[in-house]
């Protein structure tokens, strides 16, 4: 038994040990490969078979996505023990068909070029890379078996290197040995296999300089940069030399192998924050702002072609590089070292020739000791006439513009509604009357702020629009002819394009733009000479079998004589010309027209939402606004926001009048004149900017209800953040519609009344009316009695919601003593009832009583919860809500 437990313990130890001890240990992973029986394996088009014959095949062999590969063991071992690099075996599933990967970090004992010797059965790779870099360097590799393999590695004893030594066994003997000869013996190597006496260096399985967490404060694109922050000189100035004298010392200062240097932060932030020192909102400054450094990288995207002059200023030191040869490195001592301010030499300003829209990678380094601190990078553009250096955030990018990832955020502005109850999908326009859900769209729930990132739902493929840009390049055939212009107030040229140059199915009606050398460039609306109001234009004429002709209108003659393409132009005499050119047709592409669309709620959810939004208080307020215009009509002007008229226009005819209030009364009574049967019939979505600036006259442009909102995608734009105000038909008092940021001058406003839709007072006070609730069972009926006592509040409208358990009771009838106009509506799970005085001539100061009768399906002793009162609302003459509690 003892032996059994011991064996069990020994078996379990390596496979369950998950901790990492750090220095003195390395990690291992062992895989069962080849299905454990020698079979080949394929995943996603990548296969391995037999012994590894390349790095790619080795990668496949240890890829657990491969059906033939299974991770069987992992843990840590001593590097020079008999279970690892000295010919031993880390735990493995069997003696054949396995692969073992040893990994971790080492720091060699010596600086210089080591000679390396490995021996493995079967294939092996012995590789390393400097910590923080990505590309593996190979000491040795062998694809096959089983010779001594020799290689070299030039190492620095002050640096940590990440390593991965791996070998695989197909069948037969298996081992891996790592040996080396120190740099001092490089000319006559003396090899030793790794052992406790020949440890090679320090080994660890805990990353020596862990990568800081990436902080993302800006999206990739314009005015964004990547940064790294280092604590230098031990964080207190007591370690290493201060203030770099040159570029090389800057390299050392930001090298984590340098004593006293630690990489503390990394992330992406705005270029403005990184390069304009917006104190105190700068990039991170460790050590309370002393003894630190920044490395800021990104792309400079010139807006102009020509000579830029860059200028750097800082306290303490800095430099600025441009990777002008685009080789991925910043080379000191070349034109790439643009400006610098070292402890030794400095060059604050420097000219660089750049090309418009051609991104150049840049790097700014900044070192701060103690005392004052700042960093500024500025420049002048080629077009600048004054020596006035500025920072232009539009020319600073975190990545090349073409590499900016597509990103789309929607931000719905709700009010008093749980945003998380809504989901959205993205649809594309099939035709002017049909949309269909994108194949890549699955529902996304809005967060608590009404926001959602719908990037994954958007179809970003560009599709042809059936329109073509025509360009001309010098050729050998005269495919274009221009005729003598007619001069009225403009010049009118007839230009013929040979029909044989047109692709099948394309004619002049399909043309988006025509550019003929440096002679003509028009989309039919382009401005003339950059002068607004003097636009060129063109119109098609009847085409014949040989020529597609169009008229080109211009304010000056086509400059044939000054063209740079004189060899492609032949005068026909009399003012006509032939152009020896080839015509190129490029179809204009664009994103599909797409919409973000709310998913439909359930019937019950929609009923509840609409009855929450659209209540007797809204109807009273609407009547009040309409009736207040006096003998000559118009509005009373009590509305605080113009969107209230949009919400009041419940029949969607662009006019708010008594037809709308008639629908409102019908709605209170459960009628269907106001269609509230689907969300798109009641919800309105308006761009937030339009919403905020809605006027007393243009509100009629925003009366359409909808749940779909156009994405407004534009080629060349990758980042979107759309803010949309959500408002509702019938929500006259704005109880559930987004409130504009400021009150507005509304139509015929005479006085402003503050929106009277704040939560009604529900604590007992002199301003609150207590409604008595009684629920009794009388024979087979459950009777709900709501008694509004005598009062002096001038109540002109009441609304109650009585829920019922439709499985156990059925609604029967309502009896009301109200002297006002009564209304009621039967919904799927509740009854809405109340009364209203639409002209305010009557009120309920004398009190009233409502009785709601339900029939019980089963004779239950208990009826607690079979019916309930879930909403109560009392309204004053101006539509204001009066506090009410039900007791």
């Amino acid at each position: 038994m003892k032996k059994f437990l011991l064996i069990l313990l020994l078996f379990l130890l390596p496979t369950t040990f998950l901790g990492q001890s750090g220095e003195g240990y390395i990690n291992y992973k062992s895989y069962k490969t080849h299905y454990g029986n020698g079979s080949s394996s394929t995943y996603n088009g990548v296969s391995y078979n037999g012994g590894a014959g390349s790095t790619a095949e080795f990668d496949a062999m240890v890829d657990t996505n491969q059906p033939g590969t299974t991770l069987t063991h992992s843990g840590e071992v001593l590097p020079y023990g008999t279970s690892s690099l000295a010919g031993g075996w880390a735990p493995r599933w069997a003696n054949d068909y396995y692969a073992t990967v040893y990994s971790g970090w080492f720091k060699p004992n010596k600086t210089g070029t080591y000679n390396i010797k490995t021996q493995a059965d079967d294939s092996s790779e012995t590789r390393y890379r400097e910590a923080g870099t990505t590309e593996w360097q190979y000491m040795t590799y062998q694809y096959g078996c089983c010779s001594n393999i020799y290689g070299t590695a030039t190492l620095d004893k002050t640096k940590w290197y990440e390593f991965e030594f791996r070998y695989q066994e197909y069948g037969g003997g298996s081992y891996y040995y790592f040996g080396y000869s120190i740099p001092a013996n490089s000319s006559s190597p003396i090899y030793n296999w790794i052992s406790s006496n020949h440890q090679f260096g320090t080994w660890t399985n805990i990353e020596p300089n862990p990568t800081p967490t990436f902080t993302n404060n800006a999206s990739d694109g314009k005015n964004a940069v990547y940064y790294k922050v280092f604590s230098t000189n031990g964080g207190d100035g007591n370690t290493g030399s201060h203030h770099p004298d040159n570029s090389s010392q800057f390299d050392d200062l930001f090298n984590t192998s340098t004593a006293g240097t630690e990489w503390t932060h990394q992330g992406r932030d705005t270029g403005t924050k990184a390069l304009t020192w917006p104190w105190p909102n700068t990039l991170p400054r460790p050590n309370d702002g002393v003894w630190f450094g920044w490395e800021i990288t990104g792309y400079f995207v010139p807006e102009e072609t020509g000579t830029y002059e860059f200028k750097i200023s800082s306290d303490d030191r800095s430099d600025f590089y441009l990777d002008l040869d685009d080789d991925g490195t910043f080379e000191a001592g070349t034109d790439e070292q643009v400006v610098y301010y070292y402890e030794g030499p400095s060059r604050y300003e420097q000219n660089v020739s750049l090309t418009k829209d051609s991104p150049v990678k840049f790097r700014v380094r900044y070192s701060q000791g103690s005392g004052g601190a700042n960093l500024y990078l500025k420049w002048t553009k080629p077009s600048d006439t004054a020596d006035n250096h500025t920072f232009n955030s539009d020319e600073i990018w975190s990545v090349k513009p073409e590499d900016v990832p597509f990103h789309y955020d929607v931000n719905y502005k709700f009010r008093n509604i749980d945003e998380t109850g809504f989901k959205v999908n993205t649809y594309y326009e099939v035709s002017s009357s049909e949309i269909a859900q994108n194949s890549n769209s699955s529902a996304i729930t809005l967060d608590g702020n009404g926001e959602a990132t719908i990037t994954s739902q958007v179809d970003t493929d560009l599709v042809g629009q059936g329109k073509y840009d025509i360009t001309a390049t010098p050729g050998s055939v005269e495919w274009v002819v221009t005729y003598t212009p007619m001069l009225t107030n403009k010049y009118r040229y007839r230009i013929g394009l040979d029909v044989r140059e047109f692709p099948n199915g394309v004619d002049l009606d399909d043309v988006n733009n025509i550019e003929l050398l440096d002679l003509v460039d028009t989309d039919g609306t382009s401005s003339y000479g950059n002068t607004s109001g003097l636009s060129n234009s063109w119109a098609t004429t009847t085409s014949d079998a040989y020529w597609n002709n169009f008229y080109y209108y211009t304010w000056s003659t086509i400059p044939f004589s000054s063209s740079n393409y004189s060899s492609s132009i032949r005068s026909l005499g009399g003012g006509g010309y032939a152009l020896k050119v080839e015509l190129n047709f490029n179809e204009v592409t664009a994103y599909k027209t797409q919409y973000v669309v709310f998913d439909s709620p359930t019937t019950t959810e929609l009923e509840t939402l609409v009855d929450d939004v659209f209540t007797v208080a809204d109807v009273v307020m609407a009547f009040n606004e309409l009736s207040g215009g006096g003998l000559f009509g118009g509005f009373k002007g009590d509305y605080d926001y113009n969107v209230q008229y949009t919400n009041s226009d419940v029949n969607r005819d662009g006019v708010f009048d008594y037809n709308d209030t008639q629908l409102m009364i019908d709605f209170l009574n459960g009628g269907t004149m106001f269609d509230a049967s689907y969300l798109a019939a009641v919800m309105m979505l308006t761009d937030l900017t339009d919403y905020e600036s809605m006027t007393s006259t243009n509100w009629t442009n925003f009366t359409s209800s909808r749940t779909q909102f156009p994405l407004g995608l534009s080629t060349g734009t990758k980042q979107y953040d759309k803010s949309i105000a959500v408002h509702f038909k019938g929500d006259v008092n704005m109880s559930h519609s987004h409130l504009p940021s400021t009150t507005q001058t509304t139509s015929m406003a005479m006085d402003n009344m503050n929106i009277r839709n704040s939560s009604p007072m529900t604590s007992k006070s002199n301003d609150t009316i207590e409604v008595d609730l009684d629920i009794q069972k009388i024979e087979d009926e459950i009777v709900v009695t709501l008694n509004l006592p005598q009062n002096s509040k001038g109540v002109v409208g009441t609304e109650f919601r009585v829920g019922y358990d439709g499985d156990r009771v059925t609604f029967d009838r309502i009896e009301s003593e109200s002297t006002l106009q009564s209304f009621s509506a039967v919904r799927s799970s509740y009854i809405k009832l109340g009364s209203i005085s639409t002209d305010g001539s009557q009120n309920l100061n004398g009190g009233t009583e409502y009785k709601i009768y339900f029939k019980e399906a089963n004779d239950l002793t208990s009826f607690l919860g079979l019916v309930s009162v879930t909403k109560s609302e009392l309204v004053g003459k101006s539509g204001e809500q009066i506090g009410v509690i039900v007791k």
Binding site: M1, L5, L9, T16, T762, I775, S829, V869, V884
Partner: protein
């Protein structure tokens, strides 16, 4: 020795990460409903409570946000343990207060959560 090995084994396994249930803890139901401060209630649940007088009592379900009564039922109890059914389908899905009252005082109170 056997004990020692078993102890090592136990130690080894106890070092393994515990499996944690990601689900939010569910509020338990409680039939003796006024014995707890808060409990979840399901449709048709029978609740029990003791009453020591035969005067008219009322069970009241109260919405503390609206400060309004949602539902109520008055009854003549028997002295001792009484039972009562609560139906939840018409009730708002939220936390409500349930009280047992006479015409003069609130005898018992608890919170019920309707899902």
């Amino acid at each position: 020795m056997k004990k020692y090995l078993i102890l090592i084994l136990l130690l080894l396994f106890s070092c393994q990460k515990d499996l944690l249930d990601d689900l939010e803890p569910t509020l338990p139901q409680e039939d003796m409903i006024f014995k707890v401060e808060e409990s979840s209630v399901v449709d048709g649940q029978t609740i029990f409570f003791n009453i020591d007088s035969e005067v008219k009592h009322t069970l009241i379900i109260f919405d503390t946000e609206r400060k309004s009564v949602v539902a109520k039922q008055s009854f003549r109890p028997t002295i001792g343990l009484n039972d009562f059914q609560i139906f939840t389908k018409s009730l708002p899905k939220k936390k409500l207060q349930l009280t047992l009252e006479t015409s003069t005082e609130v005898l018992k109170s608890t919170y019920i959560v309707i899902d």
